[in-house]
């Protein structure tokens, strides 16, 4: 038997064991709890839901006169045999979901004959039953959309498909009043949006450049001789100036800082008879125009790339091209989105006709319009692209922000073991604040400066929302399952707890022996 311990030794041992336990219990356990607890900062989930509802309600904007938000399509009766506007909307929505795209406009389908109390639809949908080839996807006339149906009773799928094809690439999402709480939409690729965007997008300054381009080769023609004369070139400049004056572009200065123009005369010497322009003349397709344009050493375009308040100068080029030799050419014209226009002269140069063509091209590209204001008056003529661009982009960003925040809300709710750092809460709060600032600026009665600020705030809201979702501290903690924690705690604490428990057990046994 080991020698009996003195009372002092027992007390000492007790102190030693209890001092170990004191550190373990009063320091170790609280620290263990503090360092391994999943911290979930409460997020303003109700505020996020409120944002979503506000967006679905149209942000309090007057849809009738807001080009950035609402498009009404009046569906003619011949499309509604055996179907309703609601069913067509639902079918288009199904196609939207299938494509998985998103956009911003609010598409409302109304019966064209029964649209009482609503403003005149911007577009009408007509269903044609003849065997004419349907209009191409690139629509020049945006006011009427025709869909070909094989019989008098067009199915909703065919009509919806035609409507979808017509508007795909445009900024559409579906009115919740038609479809409940559906909020998917389409991204701009073709259709009206591409028409709008192939036009001159917003810029602080627009420069119109009129170029007389004369292609020369070894052959001579009268029109070339005439074109080379100073008198012809003077006349060219004079006509260009007339176009400029006729545009009355001073009214557009509300949204652009300046519109300027210049005229130029250029010469292109060609030695090879196999010219690109010959193919252009034959096919009449604008796809070949790019290669034709590449052969001309013209000033590159400064394109708008970011934001509605970019200071880039938008250059539109209008080229009057005289082919190199006399052939049975007819006058051709092309409007090239975001670039300008080309008029190819026929046998006889006709400057006035060319200038009229240029005028139409400019009008198509810039398309200044005026809007109805809340007080019933009409706004000044504005570049709708600049105005719509800001509003469209703002609403797209707001939509993106709300979708992202809603996804975060669902993620946090469904994963209780996911940490939510305080940084995420700060980002969500910032996103909501920016969201409200953006919406406030949208109510600015078409003040472009305010709308530009709104675009900035909306982009910031979307950015904050994305940062909140992809916060690395939140995501990284997801990859530590509970069993991994056990695997870490056991070898760390197991060897320590064994002697502590053994020591405590001995102390307890000794104290129990003493009690009787």
């Amino acid at each position: 038997m080991p020698p009996s311990e003195s009372a002092e030794a027992i007390v000492l041992r007790r102190k030693v064991v209890l001092s170990f336990w004191a550190v373990f219990v009063f320091l170790g356990l609280p620290l263990w709890f503090h360092t391994t607890t999943i911290h979930r900062t409460p997020l303003p989930l109700s505020a996020i839901e409120t944002l979503d509802n506000e967006l679905k309600d149209g942000l309090g904007l007057s849809r009738d006169d807001d080009p950035g938000l609402h498009i009404t399509v009046g569906v003619k009766r011949n499309c509604l045999h055996g179907t309703t506007t609601l069913e067509i909307s639902e079918e288009v929505q199904r196609l939207v979901r299938k494509e998985g795209t998103s956009s911003v406009f609010n598409l409302e389908l109304v019966d064209a004959q029964e649209c009482s109390g609503c403003s005149m639809p911007k577009y009408t949908l007509d269903c044609i039953t003849s065997d004419r080839t349907p209009l191409p996807k690139t629509i020049s006339d945006v006011e009427e959309i025709s869909v070909y149906i094989p019989s008098n009773n067009g199915s909703k799928e065919i009509i919806a498909s035609g409507l979808y094809d017509a508007f795909v690439g445009d900024f559409l999402f579906f009115n919740k009043h038609d479809l409940g709480s559906i909020d998917r939409a389409i991204s701009p690729t073709t259709g009206i949006a591409s028409t709008l965007y192939r036009g001159a997008t917003y810029a602080d300054a627009i420069h119109l450049s009129f170029t007389l381009l004369i292609a020369l080769d070894s052959s001579e023609s009268e029109r070339h001789i005439e074109a080379l004369s100073p008198e012809f070139q003077t006349e060219w400049r004079a006509h260009a100036e007339k176009v400029w004056n006729s545009l009355k572009l001073g009214e557009l200065n509300r949204f652009v800082t300046s519109i300027t123009f210049d005229t130029d005369v250029g010469f292109q010497y060609m030695t090879d008879h196999n010219h690109e322009w010959a193919r252009v003349e034959k096919d009449g397709s604008p796809d070949n125009l790019s290669s034709l344009l590449d052969t001309w050493d013209l000033q590159p375009i400064t394109l708008l790339t970011t934001g509605a308040n970019s200071s880039a100068v938008k250059v539109l080029q209008f080229v009057y091209f005289l082919p190199p030799y006399s052939t049975n050419t007819k006058s051709l014209s092309f409007t090239v989105g975001n670039w300008g226009g080309v008029v190819m002269a026929g046998d006889t140069p006709d400057l006035p006709a060319a200038m009229r063509t240029f005028g139409r091209q400019i009008d198509k590209l810039l398309s200044p319009v005026s809007f109805s204001l809340a007080n019933g008056s009409k706004s000044r003529k504005v570049l709708p692209h600049g105005h719509e661009f800001a509003r469209i982009a703002t609403i797209m960003n707001l939509r993106g922000a709300v979708e992202t925040l809603s996804a975060l809300s669902r993620l946090v709710t469904s994963l209780p073991e996911m940490a939510v750092p305080s940084t995420v809460r700060d980002l969500v709060d910032s996103a909501i604040t920016e969201w409200h600032s953006a919406v406030a600026n949208l109510h600015s009665n078409f003040d472009q400066a305010a709308e530009n600020r709104g675009l900035y705030h909306a982009a910031a809201a979307a950015q904050f929302a994305r940062q909140a979702v992809f916060d690395k501290d939140m995501m990284l903690n997801m990859f530590v399952p509970f069993e991994h924690k056990i695997a870490v705690y056991l070898p760390l604490l197991g060897p320590v707890i064994v002697p502590l428990v053994a020591g405590l057990r001995r102390v307890v046994i000794e104290s129990r022996k003493k009690e009787p």
Binding site: L12, V23, W32, H34, N477
Partner: protein
């Protein structure tokens, strides 16, 4: 102090000065070795911090300087007397003087009343064990600031042994200011300070208050020097929370290189707690031998601190040399010595293989640090066992057989 001891002092001074003179780049070579200095004691980083301080920028802004502000004051003063270049005469003399002072304190401890009754080694032997210890010499030549914090700690022990408690408190506060782990020595020091007057609550509170006041005073010096308390996170925060992840002779760095961020706070606290948890039990168990308790805690801190150096082992061995009476009961001295020797020889080689040649990896170096820790653990447990055995033999009838457990 006899002539032999002074001769040892002079010889060590000549040795260190000669090494610095003959091999001027030796301090730089040793200063780059992670075994000898760490980012918490590096002279190079001290110079950078000093330069920032002299041009009016807070040295704690850049995350480079992690040492106590008092070193800035000290070396700024030394710089005015000469140059702060590691090989400058003033720095050479200063570091040599610091080591000699430490050796002097060790000799004083060995002759103190608490150890006078035991069979002690001669002063010159104790001084030689410290001054000619290669680990201590390397630390000194590398200009590690651990030399100064160790000097303050041993000075505190020396003054406590002679009941100059106020000075002892002051030196301990200084040592704690330079190296936060010296705070762990407070409980055994309290036992030591109250050993003559008795461990009454009033005396404990008195020394505790004195210690806190002096520590606060030193901390406020840092505040007035830097203009904010930011230096606390840069110095003590870096040490306690292991912010500067770099290889060293400790156990921490490998864990923190590998673990998930989720567990980092837990491991930091667990590792710090592991070094703290032994303080009170050792103090209670060795309350009759507070010097041995201090030595044990110094040893435990050496293996469990976040940025250990080989100089810490040198100090621990020097403190052990004061307890000659336990040597006959130590059983694993050869084993421990060989383990430590092998680890100290292989550590630089494996580090070189890993970092410079690229033919090794972190596992090589960490394995050696584990071996080093095992060696230290053997020493600590063996000396502790020897101490408890002597205590047992002193309280029991020597004629009875001692039960080996």
């Amino acid at each position: 102090m006899d002539l032999k001891t002074w001769a040892v002092f002079v010889a060590s001074a000549v040795l260190k000065l000669s090494l610095n003179f003959l091999f001027p780049s030796l301090h730089s070579i040793l200063g780059q070795h992670v075994e000898v200095t760490t980012s918490m004691t590096s002279f190079k980083q001290l110079k950078e911090g000093l330069h920032l301080y002299e041009i009016g920028i807070s040295p704690y802004d850049g995350g480079v300087y992690h040492q106590a502000p008092i070193f800035l004051l000290l070396f700024k003063f030394l710089g005015k007397c000469g140059s702060t270049s590691p090989n400058s005469p003033i720095i050479n003399v200063f570091y040599v003087f610091a080591d000699i002072i430490t050796a002097y304190f060790l000799c004083a401890i060995s002759k103190s009343p608490s150890l006078a009754k035991t069979n002690q080694l001669a002063d010159w032997v104790i001084a030689s064990i410290y001054l000619f210890n290669p680990l201590v010499v390397a630390t000194n030549i590398a200009r590690s600031t651990a030399v100064l914090s160790n000097a303050a700690m041993i000075g505190s022990i020396a003054y406590a042994c002679y009941n100059w408690n106020i000075l002892s408190v002051m030196f301990l506060a200084l040592a704690s200011h330079a190296n936060i782990y010296s705070v762990y020595l407070l409980p055994p020091f309290l036992v030591l300070w109250t050993s003559t007057t008795g461990a009454s609550t009033a005396s404990v509170i008195k020394y505790l208050t004195l210690y806190i006041a002096m520590s606060t005073g030193l901390a406020s010096i840092g505040y007035f020097m830097t203009g904010s308390l930011q230096y606390l996170t840069a110095t003590y925060g870096s040490l306690l929370f292991f912010k500067d992840l770099a290889p060293n002779m400790g156990l921490w760095w490998y864990f923190f290189m590998e673990m998930f961020d989720f567990f980092r706070p837990l491991f930091t606290y667990i590792f710090q707690l592991y070094s703290l948890i032994y303080v009170l039990p050792i103090t209670f168990r060795l309350h009759n031998y507070p010097l041995m308790a201090i030595t044990c805690i110094v040893g435990m801190t050496t293996i469990s601190k976040s940025y250990p150096e080989v100089g810490d082992l040198g100090v621990y061995i020097s403190l052990l040399s004061l307890f000659r009476f336990i040597f006959p009961n130590v059983r694993y001295a050869l084993l421990a010595a060989l383990v430590i020797l092998h680890s100290l020889v292989l550590a630089p080689s494996f580090y070189h293989l890993w970092i410079y040649l690229g033919s090794g990896n972190a596992n090589f170096f960490y394995a050696i640090t584990l071996v080093y820790t095992i060696g230290m653990t053997i020493i600590i447990t063996d000396t502790l066992r020897a101490t408890l055995l002597i205590e047992f033999q002193g309280t029991e009838d020597p004629s009875k057989a001692v039960i080996q457990i």
